[in-house]
Amino acid sequence: MNSGLLQAFSHWFTIGANLLLILGVIFFIKLPKEKKANIQYWLPFLILAFTVFYENFGSYTNYNYEFKKAVNAYLGNTEYPQFNLWLFNIARRQVGVILYLLLIRYWLQPAYKKYMNWMILVFIVLVVVLQISGVEPLYLNQPIIFAIGANLILIGSGLYFIGMITRDQYLGRNPLRLVSFWQMTLIMFTFSLNYISSVTLLYLYAVNPVLGKALQDLSYVMMLGTLAVLIVTIASPLFPDKFEKEPSFEIS
């Protein structure tokens, strides 16, 4: 096999993410039909598959420089043809954020769901406006868009925690045995640390590469942790004695 291709895919994060996807696929296949059709299970699976897809695609762009250069040129970036930021901007900071917001929205009570709908709508509009106006081009770092996305995710997680301490449906349960609780906690930590990591990365790599790499590795660990929690969510119906049933707001 081509050694360059092997090298591009041999990063521990890429290998870990691919292994997690295999686990996720196995658990998802084992789910009963009605669970597979339930958004509680297919949305985490979609996020897992999408994340692993774009991470692998990112690795491929590092291997195929000509492809990366062509896409950058198409987007109007001839200055930094080695960047593949356009991929991570679209996948992680825009589509990824919307998918996580939808996941958070699923766990919220109906009143808060309305806020989440508006938040998602506002986020989409802002992303389009910031990119079309040229404030944050698609091929460069997009700190404003990521900051907005990370803050919306923090607000969404906050709404979940407010529901957790006020709603009767949650007060009757042990949060430490709810997958939604661990999802919210991991998503909140991952997006906050990813945000710090992304805005300081270029600077740190120039000034203190060791610290930059450490911060980047921390982000990778958090991302793997989030993917692992998504797998736990998918697998939770197969281990009913380990987790409590999630509260439902549909009946109340």
Binding site: F161, I165, D168, L218
Partner: protein
């Protein structure tokens, strides 16, 4: 220390601070959840004990009424029948003996029906509609006022204790109407709307000011009783305009 080092320390400090802040937030949320969970459990225990107390009171009231009824029946009905039977059996005429035997059969029937009313099994056996019909028939038979009933829903899903509470609340409302309202007509209807069952008790009596304390405390007790079975009690009344009471039970 050079400015680069300063900035690096700021980044490290910011990262640690943010991580610590979020950890504290999550731990605090779990802690608050635990506290509220304990409070919620206490509240539920209190509601449960209130429910049990209400049920006990209702059972006592029904037993007291039943004993009064049994006493009255023994004295006014069975006692009279036994005296008549004694007279018949004391006669030398054979036809009187036959009449005495008929009276004895009647007495046996009366005693059987009385013994049935001594426990609360009748609550299971009778439907709510039949019970209300009987109560209204009693009111009508005294010549006090006219009554009518219109049931568009069945209350077959009620548990025994829920039915008992509902029966007592309706009895109390009817007693209040008879004692205080002087109505010409009492109407009871039941229907199902938007996933809830409603019983409406309406009279065309003198009505009252629902803000007056003297009437309010009785109504408060009825509302509390309805709450113990997860129901609602609503009242509308004005002096001279009759009274409308709505009992709501979520299906």
């Amino acid at each position: 220390m050079n400015p680069f080092e300063d900035q690096i320390y700021v980044i490290i400090f910011s990262t640690l601070f943010l991580g610590g802040l979020m950890s504290t937030f999550v731990v605090a949320m779990v802690f608050i959840h635990r506290q509220r969970q304990a409070q919620n459990r206490q509240k539920l225990d209190f509601i449960k004990s209130e429910h049990e107390k209400t049920l006990l009171n209702i059972e006592n009231e029904i037993q007291h009424e039943t004993l009064s009824h049994v006493g009255r029946e023994l004295h006014d009905n069975i006692g009279q029948l036994l005296s008549l039977a004694k007279l018949n059996f004391g006669s030398i005429k054979p036809e009187k003996h036959a009449a005495g035997r008929e009276l004895l059969s009647q007495i046996i029937q009366e005693v059987r029906s009385l013994s049935k009313s001594l426990n609360l099994d009748w609550v299971d056996e009778i439907s709510l509609e039949d019970f209300i019909s009987q109560e209204l028939e009693k009111v009508k038979s005294t010549g006090f006022c006219e009554t009518s009933i219109n049931f568009e829903t069945e209350f077959s899903n009620l548990k025994k204790d829920e039915k008992l509470v509902l029966i007592r609340v309706i009895q109390e409302i009817l007693n209040n109407a008879i004692k205080h309202a002087s109505p010409n007509h009492i109407r009871i209807s039941a229907n199902q709307l938007e996933g809830a069952q409603h019983i409406v008790i309406q009279d065309d009596g003198i009505g009252f000011d629902i803000n007056q304390n003297s009437n309010g405390s009785g109504m408060f007790n009825l509302a509390k009783r309805m709450e113990t079975i997860g129901g609602k009690f609503d009242i509308q009344s004005k002096p001279g305009n009759g009274t409308l009471i709505k009992l709501t039970l979520s299906s």
